[in-house]
Every structure is written in C-alpha cells, then in structure tokens.
C-alpha cells in the first residue's frame, strides 16, 4: 500500500461526522414530511345536455378501488319527470355499474350518495344513467373530468394535505403532526379554523373563517380518509382565486395559535 494522505483522510472523516449529525437528528422530521401521506388520484366530473346536468361528481382512487358519486343532479327536461315518478340513477364505469341512493331536494334536484366500487383499472368512460321507473324513459349523461385544485401547507411539525377545491366547494384534507406525543403533554384540545382572505382587503386581519373543527389532538391529527368533510360556499365565492390558510389553536395551560398558509400544488397522479 502506498502512503495515504492523512490530512485528506482526517478532513473527510471529520466532514462525514459533521454531516451525519443533521442526517440523524432530522431523520424523523424528514420521514414525516416525505413519506407521511399517500396522495391518491382524485377527480371531479361534470356533464350536461339539454335534459339534465351533473356536477361535483367525485371519483377517488385508492388501493381497494374507487369511491364515486356525491354529485348534484338537476333534471331540466320537464317532460321527463312528473310528480310521484320513481327515479333511479346508476353510474356506468366502463363495464361496471353502480346504483346510487338518491336524496331528493325537489322534483328536479337530487343529490347522489358516495359509493365504493371495488375494481382496479383505469377509468376510460364514465356515464350517469337516469331512469324514470314509472314511465320507463332513460337519460344518459356522459361525464367529463374537470379541473381540480389541490392545496397543501406545512410548517416544521404540521402538514396540511390534500385540500381539494372545485368552484365554490372545498373538501378538507388531513392534518398530520410530527411529534404528537410531545404536543399532547402540553395541550389537550385543538381548534382548527379554515379561512380565506377577503379579496378586496389590504389589511392582514381581514379573514373570513368558513369552517371550524374542535377536538382532541388524537381526533384531529394523523387520520387519513378519502371520505372528507365537504364544505359548500356561496355560489359567488370561487375559492381558487382566494388566499386560503388555516389557524391551529392548541388549547392547554397556555394556548398556542399559529397559521399555515395553503398553496396550490399539482396533483401527483398515478
């Protein structure tokens, strides 16, 4: 073996030790932010023709299959439906069909429920079939994907993931906490306020809180579900044009409050 350059060797070993320190101490934080929540593919579909319109139709893909529905259906053709008629609606996803349970607002307005379809394949064609069982007439509305905005936000210990915004509706995502056991020692409950900044305001305090959640830290953090809280805003409020943020108020002996700004991200697609 030739003579080794001891200075080089010592400097390299010293630098390795210096770099190893943040790698070890920040490892937990890195895993929390990088691997905490899987983002599933979610789409919102719409469809309309002269006889009916379908909007807010939600399609969420997860490991088991799909969750689909939760749409708003308006029947515009007055000759199709009459008082007392029995209506049935079915989602046709390629070769699969799923019957929905309907919630009737009035004769022409219906809400579809969210159902689980256990099949694993990419969706090529989606149609909503509306059947008047009394007269035997059928309407077929082809559905198309529409643009959906995904919001996230984070600070060192908290991440807000997967808030889906479509027109005036927002589906709340999950909030994850890196060191929940540590936080639980000091705080019992948490209040979460979802808010947007008034568009015309120049003052930083001009926020409108549109949804509040209260619960223990275990109830509020580190839960993942595809069946989300759906908040509907007035028709004239388009959330994608507004600055969104959340305020987390941790309640204990000394309350702690901080805000996390939400920013639009591109959805990670399969």
């Amino acid at each position: 073996m030739k003579k080794i350059n001891k200075t080089h060797l010592s400097v390299a070993v010293l630098l390795l030790a210096v770099l190893l320190f943040p790698l070890i101490t920040q490892y937990k934080n890195f895993v929390f932010h990088t691997y905490e929540t899987k983002v599933y593919q979610k789409s919102v579909y719409y469809g309309r023709d002269d006889s009916a319109s379908v909007d807010y139709y939600s399609l969420v893909e997860n490991e088991k299959g799909y969750q689909l529905g939760k749409a708003k259906v308006v029947i515009k053709d007055e000759t199709f439906i009459h008082e007392g008629d029995e209506i049935e609606m079915t989602s046709l996803v390629d070769d699969h069909s799923f019957d929905h349970v309907l919630e009737k607002e009035d004769l022409y307005h219906y809400d579809l429920d969210l159902i689980t379809g256990k099949f694993l394949a990419s969706v090529r064609q989606l149609t909503l079939e509306i059947k008047n069982k009394t007269t035997g007439q059928t309407l077929s509305i082809p559905l198309n994907p529409s643009e959906l905005n995904v919001y996230t936000g984070q600070n060192k210990d908290f991440t807000v993931k997967e808030l889906y915004v479509y027109k005036n509706r927002i589906q709340l995502g999950s909030i994850n906490c890196a060191n929940i056991e540590q936080w639980k020692k000091e705080y019992e409950n948490v209040r979460i306020e979802y808010r947007y900044k008034k568009p015309e305001s120049t003052n930083n305090d001009q926020y409108v809180v549109f949804y509040k959640q209260v619960g223990t830290l275990d109830e509020m953090f580190n839960h993942y579900s595809t069946d989300r809280i759906d908040v509907k805003m007035p028709e004239d409020i388009l959330l994608q044009n507004l600055d969104l943020s959340i305020v987390i108020v941790l309640e204990g002996e000394n309350d702690l409050a901080f805000s996390i700004n939400l920013s639009k991200v591109n959805e990670v697609k399969s």
């Binding site: 003579k3 390795l16 943040p22 990088t34 899987k38 399969s270």
Partner: protein, 126 residues
C-alpha cells in the same frame, strides 16, 4: 482547471447517486412514474429537499474519502476492494433497512466498482 473538473465530477457523482435513489424510492412509495417522482422530490416540500441536499453533500464527502483510500491502493488491493463492494451490494440488496439509504448505499458501491473497473481499463490501455 483540473481541480475544477475533479470537483465537478465529485458533485456529479453525489447528485447522480442520491437523485436516482431518491426518485426510485419515492416512485415506489407513491406509485408514480419517474417524472412525477422527480417532481415530488424537487417541488414537494422544503424539508425533503433540504435533507436531499445534505445527503448529496454526505455522498460527495464519502466519495472523496474513497478517492483518498483509492490513491493509496495497489492494483491487487483495488481488485480485492472491487469484490468486497460486489459482495456488499448483494448483501445490501437483501438487508431489511430503510429503502432510501439502502438504495444510496447500493448505488454508491456500484459507482465505486465502476470507478475501479475504469481505472483498470486505463492501466491496461497504457
């Protein structure tokens, strides 16, 4: 100029090893393709990106350490080092450790093996 080339080569190896390992690991975790995985890494969040940066620096220094040892090695010792790396890659592949670090270790050892092979090739050419 030669020093600059040397530094750039080290940075390139550090970036290649860590980026490749990170992108493959994220692609497997999020079930996304290579491009979406790269996008997740570089535009996902500042915490992952910072950790990625520190890992790149770590691999650059580790490569420098390898270079220091390599300079002191005879041809026969390099041959032994090559096979030690090969065995470590095989063992590392089956080790039940955190995926990202395993991939970084494997890619680093592969880079070391390629380096040794290239040096042997240059020697034989002379």
């Amino acid at each position: 100029m030669k020093d600059l080339q040397y530094i750039l080569k080290n940075i390139g190896i550090g970036l290649a090893v860590v980026s490749l390992a990170f992108i493959i690991d994220l692609a497997g975790y999020y079930r996304v393709d290579f491009m979406n995985s790269a996008r997740r890494l570089f535009t996902g969040d500042i915490y992952s990106l910072t950790y990625y940066g520190v890992l790149v620096l770590f691999v650059i220094v580790l490569w420098e350490l390898w270079n220091t040892l390599n300079d002191a090695m005879e041809e026969k010792q390099r041959f032994i080092a090559f096979w030690i790396c090969f065995i470590l890659v095989i063992i590392g592949y089956f080790l039940p450790v955190f995926g990202l670090f395993k991939l970084i270790g494997i890619f680093f050892l592969v880079a070391v093996m390629l380096h040794i092979a290239y040096q042997q090739y240059l020697l034989k050419k002379k």
